[in-house]
């Protein structure tokens, strides 16, 4: 039983960056835009957050700067895809290439620099509760923020007028435009939000998960985040499930190896999170109509008022 709490804490650490990046991309896709540059924006956020933290010692400022960097990179994407109607898939991939290079360039002087991890919360009384105390009340502030953001996004999308408009823009931009909604501006905000969240995910990597800067340290997490949006069938709640399922299975297979008793080659154990994600997706995708209801119909398509 004394294994439970530390394992849950490890899962939280592994899942939080995925959750940030995925919930941001979910909003982007709900507005009808597909930004495949998540990996690049995460790296941008990671390097800037790290630099600001080292230079100022102010972790709040660092987190904000990481999010801002993600948003700045997303604005480049927005300029191209929304302003100049460039192809979204290709632009997003180009943004990833660009982000890998840019982050490496910016971080050149910071490789091998140590940093103190973000402080963990400690609430006298609550954090001391056995097992769940530390899990629930002993995390750093970004972990709570990731849940707050997810809840906020769910509330915004399904409980507010703004969310309704955003979804209708993603569903049928021509109709939304005809009614008089500023399609481009709404999509711009969604893209910027997605970038900021990817930047936060990156900031979590370089400030808390592994407090350091190293080139390409996101190691493909941006791609997993993209897959999780699809996995969640564009529902915020399911993004949490997906991120924690993926993080949990990653930890589980490592633990299984650590038990030392298994004869299964490690490569097959390493496959588990990927295959399980596919299997679960298959199980939850069988109801075609419900997915069609959640999937934004206009995703990835260029919008121009002239049609």
């Amino acid at each position: 039983m004394d294994l439970l709490a530390p394992i849950m804490i490890s899962i939280i650490a592994a899942s939080t960056p995925l959750l940030f990046a995925a919930i941001g991309e979910l909003v982007v896709e709900k507005s009808g835009v597909l930004n495949l540059g998540v990996e690049g924006m995460m790296l941008g956020g990671a390097v800037i957050a790290f630099i600001v933290s080292v230079e100022t010692g102010n972790s709040t400022l660092a987190v904000v700067a990481g999010a801002a960097m993600g948003a700045v990179m997303a604005s480049l994407f927005a300029l191209l895809t929304l302003g100049l109607l460039a192809n979204q898939v290709a632009t997003g991939l180009a943004l990833t290439l660009f982000g890998i290079g840019l982050s490496a360039l910016l971080g050149q002087g910071y490789v091998g620099t140590p940093l103190k991890a973000l402080p963990k919360l400690s609430i006298t009384g609550l954090s001391d509760i056995p097992i769940l105390g530390l899990v629930l009340f002993g995390q750093d502030v970004l972990v709570y923020l990731s849940f707050l953001v997810t809840g906020g996004v769910a509330w915004f999308l399904y409980r507010t007028r703004g969310g309704l408009i955003l979804r209708s823009v993603g569903e049928n931009p021509q109709a939304a435009h005809a009614i008089g909604f500023p399609v481009i501006r709404i999509r711009l905000f969604a893209v910027l939000f997605g970038g900021a969240m990817a930047g936060l995910g990156g900031a979590y990597l370089s400030l808390s998960y592994t407090p350091m800067w190293a080139e390409e340290m996101s190691a493909g997490r941006g791609w997993i985040a993209l897959a999780l949006v699809v996995f969640a069938t564009w529902r915020p709640g399911r993004v949490v499930v997906g991120a924690y399922l993926f993080g949990g299975l990653t930890l589980a297979q490592l633990h299984l190896q650590g038990m030392g008793s298994t004869a299964i080659p490690s490569q097959f154990l390493n496959m588990v999170p990927y295959i399980a994600t596919i299997v679960v997706l298959v199980l939850i995708s069988r109801d075609a109509t419900r997915i069609r209801m959640n999937a934004p119909a206009s995703i990835g398509k260029v919008f121009h008022p002239d049609g």
Partner: protein
């Protein structure tokens, strides 16, 4: 304010002028970037765009790098036209390398002129089988092919790692994770002495020609176009959406697998844990950069290959860090993608929205 106005017809002039414009813009802003970073801009641009093209050897290397990109992108473009999102070409490439390379190991010591073609076919089958999984799950269970194909990429990489560290490990290789070198007879013939340029490039050209025919002249090409543009209309016309999904995924998977088999039987000559430096992902950019058109894809593949090789010569000649190449590549792609707007739209200056 500035507004974009849709052209009634695509502009022939800008169709050919935009890539040129993008390159000019890239050169200009690249020069600024290099200057700011303290490098001689002329030298840097020479390293990127001229050095790799100086002689026949360099041109041969360019074709080697462009071959897998072009072949994969052709396959992906067919799917993208029908709105089938195969993001996992990298995994299908890996499977093609495994099946193609596996045949070379199976017939080790018994090679003949029949083996390389068989390996290529085997590679295509391997890639197609890997792509059949997302096709099956999509058509039968409605599971999104983006997720399935992407996740299978990781699975394929681990499978390759298992094979080369386990059952297929070179018995004479001191336990290192790789297979034995394939026999001479399992390697693709090179075209010229003194160059690595091999028969893969002509295969890529043939693929381009074939795809052109398929898209422009065949009924299936027409179906793909209709399904991609207006799915409901396709339904009325009696085209089966499921059949299109199967056809495009199998086709793109087979071509990615072909590229994998070409890589291992051409320049690599054995199976190792890393066959592809992300060709399957880069090919997605290539497909769109080429505007999903076979000839455009060929040009885009050459350009991407040039930017990679140019990045290497910039590192060698000037000590320009790879990070700068990433930024420079990003700029090049941004300009290319952004200038595309001029093909379909006119830029108009309007004083106010009402004053049209």
């Amino acid at each position: 304010m500035i507004a974009l106005e849709r052209r009634p017809n695509t502009s022939r002039f800008w169709l050919y002028a935009t890539p040129l414009l993008a390159v000019i813009l890239t050169v200009l802003s690249g020069a600024i970037l290099f200057t700011v970073l303290g490098f001689d801009p002329i030298e840097a641009l020479t390293a990127y765009f001229i050095s790799p093209l100086r002689d026949s050897y360099g041109l041969g290397e360019l074709t080697i790098k462009a071959t897998p990109l072009a072949i994969i992108a052709i396959g992906l473009a067919i799917g993208f036209r029908a709105n089938v999102w195969n993001i996992g070409a990298e995994g299908q490439l890996t499977l093609g390398a495994i099946t193609g390379g596996g045949l070379a190991l199976l017939f080790y010591g018994a090679e003949g002129p029949w083996l390389p073609p068989l390996m290529l076919v085997g590679g295509m089958l391997g890639g197609a089988v890997w792509a059949a999984i997302p096709a099956f799950l999509r058509t039968r269970f409605n599971a999104n092919e983006i997720l399935v194909s992407l996740m299978l990429t990781y699975v394929a990489g681990l499978l390759l790692s298992y094979l080369v560290t386990g059952p297929w490990k070179d018995p004479m290789g001191f336990g290192f994770p790789r297979t034995r070198m394939f026999g001479e007879g399992a390697l693709l013939p090179t075209l010229f002495a003194g160059s690595r340029m091999h028969i893969g490039f002509p295969i890529a050209l043939a693929t381009v020609a074939g795809a052109w025919f398929l898209i422009a002249r065949s009924f299936i090409g027409f179906q793909i176009k209709v399904v991609g543009l207006t799915p409901p209309a396709a339904g009325y016309a009696g085209f089966s959406n499921k059949r299109i999904i199967w056809a495009t995924l199998l086709c793109s998977g087979a071509l990615a697998g072909l590229a994998g088999a070409i890589e291992v039987s051409g320049p690599i000559g054995q199976l190792t844990p890393s066959i592809s430096p992300g060709y399957g992902f880069t090919a997605i950019i290539v497909a769109f950069l080429g505007r999903l058109h076979p000839l455009g894809i060929l040009c885009a593949a050459m350009l991407m290959a040039l930017s990679y090789i140019g990045g290497e010569s910039a590192q060698i000649e000037l000590g320009l860090p790879l990070a700068v190449t990433g930024v420079f590549q990003g700029m090049l792609l941004f300009f290319l993608l952004a200038s595309d707007v001029l093909v379909h739209y006119r830029i108009r200056l309007r004083l106010t929205r009402e004053a049209v």
